[in-house]
Amino acid sequence: MLTYLRKRIISSALPLVVVVIGVFALARMTGNPAALYLPLNATEAMREDFAARNGLDQPIWAQMAQYFGGLLRLDFGASMRTGEDAAAMALRAFPATLQLAAMTMLLAIVLAVVVGSIAALKPNGLLDRFASFTSMIAASIPDFWLAIVGIWVFAISLGWVPTSGVVGAAAWFLPVATLLMRPFGTLVQVIRGAMVSALSEPYIKLARSKGATQRRVIASHALRNAAAPALTVAGDLTVGLVNGAVVVETIFGWPGIGKLMIDSILQRDFAVLQACVLLTAVAIFALNILIDLGYALLDPRVRPSAGKRARRSARRDASRHRPSQPAPAVAAERADATEHELTRSLP
């Protein structure tokens, strides 16, 4: 366990450095902050003074070296706009994003497990088709469009919820509902596919032959096996929410890290932008470790103690979850009917 963590931390250090360098360089390509922070008629002397105060007069590699030096002392720089510590600003905005992401994923997973499982019980049945259709739409709707339509219908026409802000439970409705669609739609399809394939496995037949009730078969035998592939996809979707429900946060004025990131880009507030990116990168790295741990918890075959062969077969199982039609039983029974196993099998 500790070796695993150490390995993961070491292997993710380099990507983090690359991300910071990339953001550092790209941010400075958006233009000179002086143009935004000084009046239009600022003199050359004022501009030089501004650049010197913010260290922008030095070559970019020197700026970068200074920044990394600061990182080692946990000094993330200060906001050009407010003078506040950049890390403090990012950390203050992050909980709002995490709460939104957690609420969204929780609802999406619960709904998708219910809908996906019901759909998988009768593949190609009426409920299954309805679930497929709905989930396809949910997964494909663009969130910015849905957000605007949502505001128009629920906030302006009906007046049930506020158009933006975080005051009261009603304020959660539109952002969560908007963000929910894609994870819900995607997860329904994944869980439905994984459940269909799990339910056709021999171990389900064995559980039934032991006299397990339908509920027990579905909840503890099939769903537990379908959970592993679903977790992988849910993890990816959560990553997408954590590093910024940028569009949705901006539209609804949600004071999260996505909005802070956009604001700091627009205002060329480099230190804040870098702090935001670094924070989300670390959060995603931590999330990936959690997903790995969760995966190992769900599927004993991927635990480090399991050995290579088991891990390979677990991966094979997991990659089989794509939504597909179950092969008719005929095929299985007749597959090699033309072969003469009789003569082959004799000692």
Binding site: Y203, L206, S209, A314, P328, E333, T338, H340, L346
Partner: protein
């Protein structure tokens, strides 16, 4: 075979199974009947796709949704399994009927310890708690010869060898001392030495608990060594049945004879292996008359026009052939056909 009590545990009569396909309904099991008696082994013998597994699944109530029993009955201790409600089946049939699948790795749930899976039956039917069920699981593992059951009970299926997994599957099937054990090709996925161990285990358990064993196999040698009665299936139909001794010594169906002749024996060293020409008919194209007519050396007009019914062809022996009396005696001696040779 010390304690043959001859009680009919399972009685299958005129069992039909249909499967729905986009091309229409196919009959995969047609008019199959046999009786499995306590303390004995009945072998269902046939090629892949002959319907033997479907028969077993139909009896165990584990048919896929596209398949259904469309006629006949399968009575477990006098009660028709197909007439039972699903809850009655869970309460009565599950403890009374154990089934062992071919591929033990696929039949065991990969995400639960074997202890949890072995204990499940006790938790469902005996209302035991986790701890008690686990103790039962350890006992079961010991009973089927798994070393160090106290520690292995916490292992997962993938941490066992193929033979050990099959033992676990067998343990699971006999957990509640069923009166009937159906073993669906229990040794096909195993190597020869392990096969022998598994067959010995099945035989020991059968003798200990006096249950009836239905052995589904395509292995003639296994049938000759292990079974008391045999039921030979072809294209969904029973073509010949009777005691193994009688049927193997004196087959009265051309298919049985063809099978026995295709077994390599000591006397034929150096000769080409005999085989049955052709292949079984596709289920969508089963001929109107005898199912075996296309490959049968004795086939005539009568065979094409009329499907032969199973009829008495000897003491305790029945075959579905118009010309059963003309089937020449098997050319291979029985001892020769059953002798296991380990290839050098």
């Amino acid at each position: 075979m010390s304690t043959i009590t001859d009680q009919a545990v399972l009685q299958v009569q005129n069992l039909d199974v249909d499967i729905r396909t986009p091309q229409g309904t196919l009959r995969v099991v047609n008019n199959v009947g046999f009786t499995a008696r306590s303390g004995t082994t009945l072998a269902l013998l046939g090629e892949s796709g002959c319907g033997k597994s479907m028969t077993a699944k139909a009896i165990a109530g584990l048919l896929d949704p596209v398949a259904q029993v469309s006629g006949g009955s399968a009575e477990l201790l006098g009660e028709d399994l197909n007439q039972m409600s699903s809850s009655r089946r869970r309460q009565v049939a599950s403890p009374g009927l154990g089934i062992v699948f071919q591929d033990a790795l696929a039949a065991l749930n990969p995400v639960y310890t074997v202890g949890a899976q072995l204990g499940e039956a006790f938790r469902i039917h005996r209302g035991m708690g986790k701890k008690q069920a686990k103790a039962e699981a350890v006992d079961l593992m010991r009973r089927v010869g798994i070393p160090e059951p106290e520690t292995r009970v916490n292992s997962y299926p993938h941490q066992f060898s193929g033979g050990m997994r099959q033992r676990i599957l067998i343990a699971m099937a006999v957990a509640l001392n069923p009166r009937l054990l159906i073993a669906d090709e229990p040794t096909t996925a195993l190597d020869v030495t392990v096969q022998a161990q598994i067959m010995a285990l099945l035989k020991r358990l059968r003798t200990e608990t006096d249950m009836a064993l239905v052995l589904i196999t395509h292995d003639l040698a296994v049938v000759a060594e292990e079974a008391d009665d045999v039921c030979i299936m072809y294209a969904g139909n029973v073509v010949e049945q009777g005691s193994v001794q009688t049927v193997f010594a004196n087959p009265t169906h051309p298919y049985t004879k063809g099978l026995l002749e295709s077994v390599p024996g000591q006397g034929q060293r150096g000769q080409a292996l005999s085989s049955i020409p052709g292949s079984p008919p596709e289920l969508s194209r089963i001929p109107a008359g005898c199912v075996y007519q296309d490959r049968c050396p004795l086939a005539s007009e009568l065979c094409r026009a009329e499907r032969p019914a199973l009829r008495e062809t000897g003491p305790g022996q029945r075959a579905a052939c118009h010309f059963a009396e003309q089937v020449p005696h098997a050319t291979v001696s029985q001892t020769g056909s059953t002798e296991k040779e380990i290839p050098a």
